[in-house]
């Protein structure tokens, strides 16, 4: 391999602005508007000026009537401020036909084979180190680009059949997906000629970090909007008449536990050792306390556990849309006296919780639920009964009754692996360690595998160090350029290689050690180095799930023994079923 070097200037943040048509006059105009006019530019350091953020991380979009801004289910990390006109938000679920969503098409077989046949013999080759570069075998980069000219199909019919809300100039929206890294919960389109300011996550993050004005404002909007949307999405509230739902919303309390950047205090190595660290998880409600409200998880994960001896026994973890404390709260109402909670609820990472008080439940919810629905909600938490916990420990069986599923649940929750939607699971009882998976991955990714065939183990089940395409991809939080992001349609977390400046923020943030920084080379095999420091230029590299390859992940396809699979670790039952398959 050639050991020569080519020196270039290290790529920097804002080398590729969100919109290069932003001018100083636009920035001046923005700085005269609320809430930017209340920001003190002196709060920003010289290397990160307020004007720089607005010029590079923001853009002004002019929309025609009916033009889509984002669709329910899309992944995106931008927040929007209405500068002029109105935006209509569709609160109901729209049929896919109305949204016009299309999944990205993978490459054809011939193109794929040609690409593989002509790939460089050197690892991690980039034609250029800067914004115009790109790997020789990498997938097309993800961009949070607007879909210009995409409109809601059959708009009058949509308006007739759906609940909508109108937002006016000066209002923020889209903050929920940006803050929680979750898909958009609603569809938004322009209601007439509209002008928007789009602020990508990197700019929003820096503004929120350095100015209280923006932080308080965005968080207040988040709480208000999220509450309404979430209540409407909750199955047992969906059939409530609008007036009753509004009463519930007025009575409900919205609270956040943990931190958005929970990864900073999370140490998976400490988790692998037993200890009292569960008690470090922010407590939402405690076992034994009065059950005076039903809790709904709005986003994130929460651990439902019972104290056993000096430890905690995980009964389940609750994800978005799941409820806790239903049977105890209903029992409190029926018996006319407080009934103690059977389990504690703790935040695993960052969790938003909506609390519906018992009174509101009795007055506005229970009258609209049939006996079957009530039973089903109560049954969902039967495992929390004190009798069953003792039995579970004694028998080594889980809430679901499947052998060893409880231990698997503890393993996944303790290491927060439940975050993984497409984790690489290896059955070590079948894996012959032939490394065909590694070779296949390297062949389609710059001659360098995007995973390490090692990782945390639970018996023969190994979760390899490969990107899990998390529900909450905290790796995206610190990226200064937005190079790491979700594919808008599929949610696959990918790196836009040309805009990656090699800062290593994502690799440091990943709690699972699934992103690596790699040295890059020219097509002739020379190392790209920084002309100032003479150090090699780095790029972040991780599994992209072979999103542009026909046939799916090469690693899974290459395993001759069915020992490797991509699994959604939030579905513990499926993980257990795969692990115990004959």
């Amino acid at each position: 391999m050639a050991d020569r070097e080519v020196a270039v200037a290290r790529p920097r943040r804002w080398a590729e602005p969100l919109d290069d048509r932003m001018r100083d006059v636009d920035v001046d105009r923005l700085l005269r508007l609320e809430p930017f006019c209340r920001i003190d530019p002196a709060d920003f350091p010289s290397f990160l000026p307020l004007r720089g953020i607005l010029r590079n991380d923001a853009r002004i979009r002019r929309l025609r009537p009916g033009e889509l801004i984002f669709r329910e289910g899309d992944y995106g990390s931008s927040v929007y401020l209405i500068l002029h006109g109105h935006v209509r938000v569709v609160l109901d679920r729209l049929p896919p036909a109305a949204l016009g969503r299309e999944l990205p098409r993978p490459q054809g077989w011939l193109a794929t084979i040609a690409r593989l046949a002509t790939r460089s013999r050197f690892p991690e080759v980039r034609r250029q180190a800067g914004p115009n570069g790109g790997s020789s075998t990498a997938a097309a980069p993800p961009r949070d680009a607007p879909r210009r000219g995409l409109f809601v199909a059959d708009l009058p019919a949509v308006l007739d059949a759906s609940h909508t809300a109108v937002l006016s100039a000066g209002e923020f929206f889209g903050e929920s997906a940006a803050l929680t890294r979750t898909p958009r919960a609603v569809t938004a389109y322009s209601d007439g000629e509209t002008t928007l300011l789009e602020l990508r996550w990197q700019g929003l993050r820096d503004l929120m970090q350095r100015t209280r004005v923006i932080r308080d404002h965005v968080e207040a909007v988040y709480r208000r909007n999220s509450l309404t949307v979430h209540l409407r999405e909750t199955p047992f509230l969906a059939q409530l008449p609008p007036e009753a739902l509004q009463e519930v919303a007025d009575a409900a309390d919205f609270q956040a536990y943990g931190r958005f950047d929970w990864h900073e205090s999370f140490d998976p190595r400490a988790r692998s050792r037993s200890g009292g660290w569960i008690e470090d998880e922010p407590l939402i409600v405690e076992e034994g306390g009065a059950a005076d409200a039903v809790l709904l998880v709005r986003s994130g994960f929460a651990r439902l556990s019972r104290r056993v001896g000096n430890g905690h026994y995980t009964l389940a973890y609750l994800g978005r849309g799941e409820a806790c404390g239903w049977s105890e709260t209903v029992a409190s109402l029926e018996q006319g006296r407080p009934v103690p909670r059977r389990a504690s609820l703790r935040a695993v990472g960052y969790v938003d919780v909506v609390s519906i008080p018992a009174e509101a439940l009795a007055r506005h919810v229970l009258p609209f639920l049939g006996p079957a629905e009530r039973r089903s909600l109560a049954d969902g938490q039967a495992a929390a009964s004190p009798e069953s916990v003792a039995a579970l420990v004694a028998n080594g069986t889980s809430a679901a009754g499947a052998p060893h599923e409880q231990e698997l649940l503890e393993f996944l929750v303790e290491r927060r692996l439940i975050n993984g939607r497409q984790a690489m699971a290896i059955d070590l009882d079948r894996c012959t360690r032939c490394d065909d998976c590694v070779v296949a991955c390297a062949a389609v990714h710059d001659n360098n595998p995007r995973f390490v065939r090692q990782g945390p183990r639970h018996g023969p089940l190994q979760i390899a160090h490969a990107c899990m395409h998390c529900v909450d991809p905290v790796c995206m939080i610190g990226c200064p350029t937005g190079a790491i992001g979700r594919d808008e349609a599929t949610g696959v977390v990918r790196i836009n290689d040309p805009t990656c400046i090699g800062c290593g923020s994502c690799a440091t943030s990943c709690p699972y050690d699934n992103i690596r920084m790699v040295e890059i080379r020219t097509p002739a095999g020379e190392l790209w180095i920084d002309e100032a420091t003479r150090q090699p230029l780095l790029k972040a590299a991780k599994c992209d799930l072979c999103a542009d390859l026909p046939g799916g992940p090469a690693c899974q396809n290459a395993c001759p023994h069915d020992a490797l699979v991509r699994l959604d670790l939030s579905r513990v039952d499926r993980v257990a079923a795969w692990k115990h398959r004959p």
């Binding site: 077989w109 794929t112 084979i113 593989l116 070590l428 009882d429 079948r430 894996c431 012959t432 360690r433 032939c434 065909d436 070779v439 296949a440 991955c441 062949a443 389609v444 065939r453 090692q454 183990r457 018996g459 023969p460 190994q462 072979c546 390859l549 026909p550 046939g551 090469a554 899974q556 396809n557 290459a558 395993c559 001759p560 023994h561 069915d562 020992a563 398959r581 004959p582």
Partner: protein, 280 residues
């Protein structure tokens, strides 16, 4: 019944049906006093070629023709089916002539290595996963070095704190050679816990003569001996799996070439009836 098992049963049923049909057709031709060698020979040669294709499939990372596990299933079934096809082709007779003996010997070696591989790939992974941490074969030398350094540091610390030489002397005579060297070839081929057990027993025996500080170091040495043994065991079994694959592949290429030569010669020397299938 699981999906995987259903798939296997279905595939096995299809393979059995194909072999059964070939056997029935061969019997019909034999009863009609027609030649059968070319008919069964081509099926056998085709099966060998199909078995080779699996290796080509593994070379293509993004193939348009199914996952490797699907190919593996086909490979195993075709591999097992090759034996009855051979028996149909050359029923119960010993080979004669150099080429025929070579083909038969290569077939037997490749088939047996395949069966051995089938057994090993289904038993060794369980043995590997039941021992210690997962070890990557490429990391074994580095891991051995780390264990050796930790053992050395533990013994130096124990001797420094205690001022006694008992454990140090034992380490120098018995444990240092173990930590400093790679396992012997025989241990690599046939890994055994004998050496580990012997060393641990000796260390246990020596422990009664140790001071408290030395005992603390000895505890670390106990753990490091076990760790080193696990690394050696992983290396031995992983090396065996890889070596087996190399041998299996090394046998299959000459087999295919020899079988092809055998078919070509059979045609060349079969005379006019060859095209009609009266060979070899």
């Amino acid at each position: 019944m699981s999906i995987l098992r259903r798939r296997w049963l279905r595939s096995a049923a299809i393979a059995s049906a194909v072999v059964g049909a070939i056997a029935a057709e061969t019997a019909r031709r034999r009863d009609a006093l027609e030649p059968t060698a070319a008919f069964t020979g081509w099926w056998l040669l085709g099966t060998l070629a199909f078995l080779m294709l699996f290796q080509l499939r593994k070379k293509i990372a993004a193939p348009p023709a199914g996952s490797a596990s699907l190919w593996m299933r086909g490979h195993l079934l075709a591999g097992f089916a090759a034996l009855p096809l051979l028996l149909l082709h050359a029923p119960w007779r010993l080979p004669n002539g150099a080429l025929e003996i070579a083909v038969a010997a290569l077939f037997a070696a490749a088939w047996c290595s395949g069966v051995l591989g089938f057994y090993w790939t289904r038993t060794l992974p369980r043995r590997l996963s039941s021992v210690g941490e997962e070890v990557l074969l490429e990391h074994v030398p580095r891991l051995r070095g780390q264990i050796r350094d930790r053992a050395s540091a533990a013994i130096l610390e124990g001797v420094r704190l205690s001022g006694d030489a008992t454990l140090g002397e034992f380490y120098r005579q018995r444990l240092q050679p173990y930590f400093d060297s790679a396992p012997r070839r025989t241990d690599r081929l046939f890994p055994s816990p004998r050496l580990r057990k012997t060393l641990l027993a000796e260390l246990t025996h020596v422990a009664r003569y140790l001071s408290d500080q030395e005992r603390s170091a000895a505890e670390q040495l106990f753990a490091l001996v076990r760790q080193r043994d696990a690394v050696d065991y992983h290396e031995a079994l992983q090396w065996r799996l890889r070596a087996w694959l190399v041998v299996h592949l090394a046998l299959t290429w000459p087999l295919l070439m020899a079988a092809g030569l055998h078919a070509w010669l059979a045609y060349v020397f079969a005379g006019d009836g060859a095209a009609g299938g009266s060979l070899p």
